[in-house]
Symmetry: C2
Subunit: 294 residues, 2 copies
Amino acid sequence: MLTWSLYWTVRECLVTRKPIAVFDSGLGGLSVVRELRRSLSCEDIVYFGDTARVPYGIKSRRTVAKFALEDARFLLQFEPKLIVAACNTASALAMDELEEKLPVPVVGVVKPGARAAVQLADGAPVAVIGTEATISSGAYTAAIRTLSAQQEVIGQACPLFVPLVEEGRDSDDPIVKLTVETYLSSLREAGIHVIVLGCTHYPLLKEAIAEYLGPLVRIVESGRETAHAVREVLQRGENLCAEERTGTLQCHVSDNPTRFRRIGSRFLDEEIEHVELVEPEQYIASAASDRKEK
Amino acid sequence: MLTWSLYWTVRECLVTRKPIAVFDSGLGGLSVVRELRRSLSCEDIVYFGDTARVPYGIKSRRTVAKFALEDARFLLQFEPKLIVAACNTASALAMDELEEKLPVPVVGVVKPGARAAVQLADGAPVAVIGTEATISSGAYTAAIRTLSAQQEVIGQACPLFVPLVEEGRDSDDPIVKLTVETYLSSLREAGIHVIVLGCTHYPLLKEAIAEYLGPLVRIVESGRETAHAVREVLQRGENLCAEERTGTLQCHVSDNPTRFRRIGSRFLDEEIEHVELVEPEQYIASAASDRKEK
């Protein structure tokens, strides 16, 4: 009996107490962290935001894959039990490479968002909105069609949404309302039932989007679905933390911690206590070797 | 007589034929190149756009200075006779460091813009619009006050203008019109006589800005003023090309040459023939050593 209890205590310390690592091109991934902290409150989280090279959404597949791998490898030093690619662009463009090259399970935001969309679609077209790179990659469409081969999917890039959110504009803002109308009018006309918010910034404009599309259109937040997917993966591996405690959050950025704290708290929905500035050598060098770490 | 003529021929080959190097965080600097090609048509130009790390306008002084120095040092391999920091953010945040560490004359866009603004102000307040980083640096205000100590200057960050332009929206676009009105209404009320377009993207929205502010407000394009400043520096050093030929343009980018060509041609006002993709080692490594090259 004692041995068994000792086994579980040691296991608790060795595996389940390891943190979940989350990376993003910048601060948007904090909206995914918010969902993780809500549904997996006792987990410790280590976050890396690549604010020196943000945004990824206008960059090439090759560059996004390189940056994403560097971000994830930086986080390996914290010995995470799982890595979340909270950035939609990175999930859309670099998931295969991340899964192949990282020694721990990786959860992206595209597949969970796609799964929820298919469950809600009910035969009507699904819309996916995201950055230029996410939409033109066709990753959401591919993920949705894997689950439901005939599903109609309409992609729409909404490049102004990120700067609108980062500037602090919310759903009541006239520029936001006009921009939402401009991007989404063709989706409304197409009679969509479901829209996937395929960018971590977009939940902050959810009200304006919901108001414009009307109450019959269901909104899928990829971040929220990702938190469910993380729980499933951890549960399957018996790595879920089950203690009665509030997990810690450690944030690291490659530039401008002050801006990260100021704007990021709106994404996280709580104050960000402390942010560590990471030097280029710490994340660029860590990816210099191209060896497979698996 | 022959010796004298030989001297000038050799000099022509050795100095005046050297290219002008221009760098920018991305493709915006092509609006400065356009002005250079108009007023200094026989000069060869080598351009580097750091499209892998664009934009600089939301980043810290430290990071912008590091990136700007890497960009400029990459261009040294072409043995330029002069380097233009076409990026307003880099000119605002890193000019001292560039001037100190580079072995050739450097012309930024802030001082030329400031000089033109002072000449036109006529006692009324001057407005400067630019990125978050340019405006909060206060660099334009400082440059203007050096020339005219009592000059009133009003800075206004316009973070949506860059993504609006990059998305291909022009002055007739309803979102552009509403955004212009939102950012500039307080400047109009303040009775400004002059507005400085302190970002290389903004000339593409000039019509909307002019229409909103009315015909009495003079618009200063920092890029155009910079071309005049480059001419003066080259003339002073007797390095101006005086041949009857059309100079070449060589473009290099750190990411996404296709997007650069597609969007960049609107800034340049001509097709971009060929763009070279530069590997990270070529520009990041070149700045690794911190030695003074002067």
